[in-house]
Each structure stands twice: as C-alpha cells, then as structure tokens.
C-alpha cells in the first residue's frame, strides 16, 4: 500500500500533467484553427478579386495592383493559378480570361471546402481541450479531497476513538492492526506508548501487592516479639513473679516504658503505611456524633487527670455523621491527647462542634498551651516532624500522630489544620463533609 503522501503527490502530479497536456493540445489546435481560418479568408479575398477581374475592362493600374496582391500569396499552386488569371487579363482575351477564372474558382472552391471542414475540426478540438484544461484540475482537486477525507480524516477519527477507548478502559485495551501509511505509523507509536503505560500499571499493581504482603508480614513479625517483651516486663514489674528490689525495678520500668513507646511507633507506622497503601478501608456508617466524642473523652480521662487538665466538650445533640467511628476516634484522641500534653496544669481543653461556610461539620480542639510558631504549623502534619516539645512530656510522641490524623481525615473527605498564636494556645480543627440531623434529613452531601 502506498503512503498517503505518495498517493496525494501522485494524484496531484497526474492532475497537473493532464492539465498541461490539455492546455498544450488546446494551444496547438487553436493555432491550427487560426492558420486555416486565414487560408479560408485569403481564398475568399482572392476569389472576389478574380470575379472582379472578370467583370472589369483592362486597366494597367488594376493589373499592377493585382500583381502586388499575387506576390503576397504564400501557396505556390495558388500563386501559379492566380498568375494564369492575370496573364489572361493582360492578354485581354475574354474567353481565355473566363476559362482561367473558372479554373481558379474551381481550384479555390476545392481548397476552401477542405479547409472549412478542417477549420471546424480544429475549432472543436480547441474548444474540447480548452474546457478540459479547466475541468481536469477541478476533477483532480475533487479526487484529492475525496482521498484526504477517506484516508486522513477517517484515519484520524479512528485513531482518536482508539485513544479515548484506551483512556476509558486501559486494561482491556485491544490493539488493532495499523495501516501501512503515516497514520499507521502514528498508531504504531501510540500502541507502543499505550503498551508502556499498561506495563507500568502492571508493575505498579505488582508493587502494590508486594507492599500489602510486606505490611501483613511486618505486622505479625514485629508484634509477636513485642508481645513477649512487654509481657515479660509487665509480669516482672507488677510483682506477679515475686517481689523485686527498687533499683532493678526502676530498670524494668524504664524498659517497659520504652517498649510501650516502641509499640506505639510500630502501630503508628503500620497504620500510616496501610493508609498510604489504601489498605485501610473505612467501615463508615451513620453515627451519633456525641457518642463518638464521649467514647473518645472517656478514654482520655485518666490521661487528662494525670496531667491535671480538664476536658470540656459542648454537646451537639441530634447530629449524625457518616464516619468510621473507630478511625475518627483515633483522630480525636490524637488531637485531644496532644492538647493535653501541651496544656498547663489546671487548664481546660475545649472540644466544640460547628459548621464551616460550605456546610461541613467542623470540629475544634482548643488548648491553652504555648502555641505553635507559624513556620511549624505546616510542618507538624508531616511524618516525624514535631514542633517545640512539651515542657513536661508525659508520653513521648512518635511524630506520626498528626500525619495519621491528616490521612484519616482526608480519607473521610475532610480537611485538617491548626490556628495558633504564640502564647495564646492552639486550636486544631478538622472537617467532616457527610453529616445530617438525626431526623434523617441530609444536611450536606
């Protein structure tokens, strides 16, 4: 199969050649027509002169004029014939003159008759080829247009449809046999591009699979030894295996505290890895918002009591949120325990629920701590980033709590952030887009 470029060039070349040939033929036949017409005109002129000679008395001036006319005749036979007529005229022999004129007229008549037919033929040829000179390029253009339409535009349409198919459903994409032309080349390029994308996607899928397996194994292999260590230390430290002196007991308590910290870190890391790998499906359902808040604060009562901090929350009866309650409790626990950690003794951590401008549920956790410097306010939501540490850290953080909270809130379709001024405390907030009043009417989508 010819390439599109060759096809179009060939058609254009043929059309131009045909036009050139028609034009040339028209020019030749036009010239022929003019020549023949001149011959016919001359014949008419000479015949009228001969008739006039037959009817006029001899006159030397007339003879001279006719001789000049004869000299202008190109055709030799005709010139000889006309000479015969002039000779008879100058001899003043009427009979001979009539005879010669009759011969001349007969000869001219024959020539003229033939020429007239030729003239008509030449004229027809001229007109035919002149018309064709005009029509052939139009026809050529028509063919080019037809070819461009059927191959180029049709091919582009087909290719763009295939691209849309690929975009819509890249895994079941079927490659078609490309044509042997420029559009085929384009499709071949697109096919290899698509194949590359498909290969990359497959690789990513395999990587994802490997990541899941890793998480599952890591989870088990890290937690099992931690169970033994924590168990042993706890049984020793709590005197269940017999009384232990104060000095070794202190060491056991240190080991226990650090084991707890390591366990928190492992749990946080695995949680974050799962969220990032999207292996933590949310079990969302409609929950009474106050229940979620109450279970969280109840769980933190002991912690708050040790820190000498009160937790206060404004009840918001009748509000239901479409959430994975355990996961949102994890977010709340994170924010409230952070607030407790940074609060001075005797102060209160306030939790209150409101609405954003676009109608999402807005939860605020406000403390009376030292506040967070503007430069740290973005950083603290990143992994392993902590702002200024608490003056009296009750429980050391892992630096992952806010990163997990952010990931969980975003999984719920919400936002998270902080407003704070140095010396004036901090207010951590997050939003939940899906909530309603308990009568069942959805307040927001």
């Amino acid at each position: 199969m010819l390439t599109l470029r060759t096809r179009l060039n060939l058609i254009t070349f043929c059309a131009i050649s045909a036009m050139g040939w028609c034009g040339f033929t028209a020019a030749v036949s036009g010239q022929e027509y003019l020549d023949l017409q001149k011959q016919v005109d001359e014949s008419v002129d000479l015949r009228s002169n001969a008739v006039w000679l037959g009817g006029a008395p001899y006159d030397s001036t007339t003879l001279k004029r006719m001789q000049t006319r004869r000299a202008a005749i190109v055709d030799e036979t005709r010139q000889a014939q006309f000479s015969d007529v002039l000779q008879a005229y100058s001899s003043r022999d009427d009979k001979m003159l009539r005879q010669r004129i009759a011969n001349f007229m007969q000869h001219e008549y024959d020539i003229s008759k033939k020429a007239t037919i030729q003239v008509r033929k030449a004229r027809e040829t001229f007109l035919l080829f002149a018309c064709m000179t005009a029509i052939v390029p139009l026809f050529g253009m028509f063919i080019v247009l037809l070819t461009v339409n059927s191959t180029v535009f049709h091919g582009i349409d087909r290719l763009s449809r295939r691209m849309m198919d690929f975009l819509a459903d890249r895994y079941s994409f079927q490659f078609s046999q490309p044509d042997a032309n420029e559009l085929g080349d384009l499709q071949r390029t697109f096919n290899s591009l698509a194949q590359q994308v498909i290969n990359t996607m497959d690789e990513l899928k395999q990587l994802d699979q490997a990541k899941s397996e890793f998480l599952s194994i890591a989870s088990h292999e890290l937690r099992t030894p931690m169970t033994s260590i924590k168990g042993s230390l706890s049984l020793l430290g709590n005197g269940i295996m017999g009384k232990i002196d104060d000095a070794p007991l202190q060491l056991i308590k240190i080991a226990e505290t650090e084991t707890d910290r390591l366990i928190r870190l492992i749990n946080d890391l695995l949680d974050l890895a799962k969220i990032e790998a999207r292996k933590l499906p949310l079990a969302s359902k409609w929950c009474l918002w106050d229940d979620t808040l109450k279970s969280t604060t109840t769980g933190l009562v002991g912690f708050a009591h040790n820190a000498g901090v009160n937790i206060a929350f404004d009840p918001s009866p009748g509000i239901e949120a479409f959430i994975d309650s355990d996961r949102v409790q994890q977010v709340l626990t994170n924010l409230i325990s952070n607030a407790i950690k940074f609060s001075p003794r005797g102060s209160t951590v306030h939790v209150y629920t409101g609405q954003t401008k676009n109608g999402h549920l807005l939860i605020n956790v406000r403390d009376q701590g030292p506040g967070i410097a503007p430069a740290d306010q973005e950083l603290i939501f990143q992994k392993f980033r902590q702002g200024a540490t608490a003056e009296n850290p009750i429980v050391k953080g892992t630096g992952l709590g806010l990163a997990i909270a952010k990931a969980l809130v975003e999984e719920h379709g919400g936002d998270i952030g902080v407003e704070s001024e140095m010396g004036k405390g901090s207010a951590f907030w997050f939003t939940l887009p899906k909530w309603r009043l308990a009568d069942g009417q959805a307040v927001s989508a």
């Binding site: 099992t224 924590k230 168990g231 706890s234």
Partner: protein
C-alpha cells in the same frame, strides 16, 4: 476456668500461661499448632478457647471453623497481630490484639465473655 491456649510462639505462650494461671487462677492446656488445637478441643471440654491468628498447619480461623463445625459452642477468643481482619469478629466471641497488656488480660477476657452473655 479450664482454658485451651493455641499459640505457636513459645515465648508468647509462656507469658499467656503465666498470666492466666498466676493472675486469673485458671487451668491452661497449651497446643503448639492448629492441628493439635483441634484435637485437644475435640477430646476435652473447655470453658474457653484462645486461638492465635497465625499458626503453622492450621491458622486460627480454620481451627475455629472446625471447632464450630463439630457443633461446639465454647467461647473462642482470638489473639492476633492483625486486628482489622473482619473474620475475627464474626467467627469468634472477641479478640485480643497483640501486643497486649498482660496484667489486664484476665479482665479483658471477663469483659469479652460478659458482653457475649449480655448480647
């Protein structure tokens, strides 16, 4: 209570046994893998069965399925490092996540059994 403890990790098993015997004053029978757990569960009567999630030969879920398949209604508590497995909730009476706080384990067991009775 007479408790069957199926746990393949020797160290975890020792600690669990200590907790249950020393703190809870329970009688503990230990099985090292899933197959032994099924055999012991079918040959003796227990008040409670504690199953590790991941064990050689038969994992905790399969053991629970076989015990339930033989018509026993003994409460089953899973001991697991992967608490987000939904089957632990449906097949067992409850679960204890690893790593657990050993001094609280008996209280946690009581809590699970009490809420199962209440439901």
């Amino acid at each position: 209570m007479k408790i069957l403890l199926a746990e393949d990790d020797h160290h975890v098993a020792v600690i669990m046994k200590l907790c249950l015997e020393k703190i809870g004053q329970h009688e503990v029978v230990h099985a090292e893998d899933g197959e032994l757990a099924v055999q012991k569960a079918q040959s003796q009567a227990f008040d409670l069965i504690i199953l590790d999630g991941m064990m050689p030969k038969k994992n905790g879920l399969i053991v629970a399925q076989e015990i339930r398949g033989s018509g026993q209604t003994t409460p089953i508590i899973f001991l697991t490092a992967k608490s987000d497995e939904p089957a632990y909730q449906t097949l067992g009476t409850g679960y204890i996540a690893k790593p657990f706080e050993p001094t609280l384990i008996c209280a946690r067991i009581e809590e699970i059994l009490a809420s199962a009775k209440g439901a």
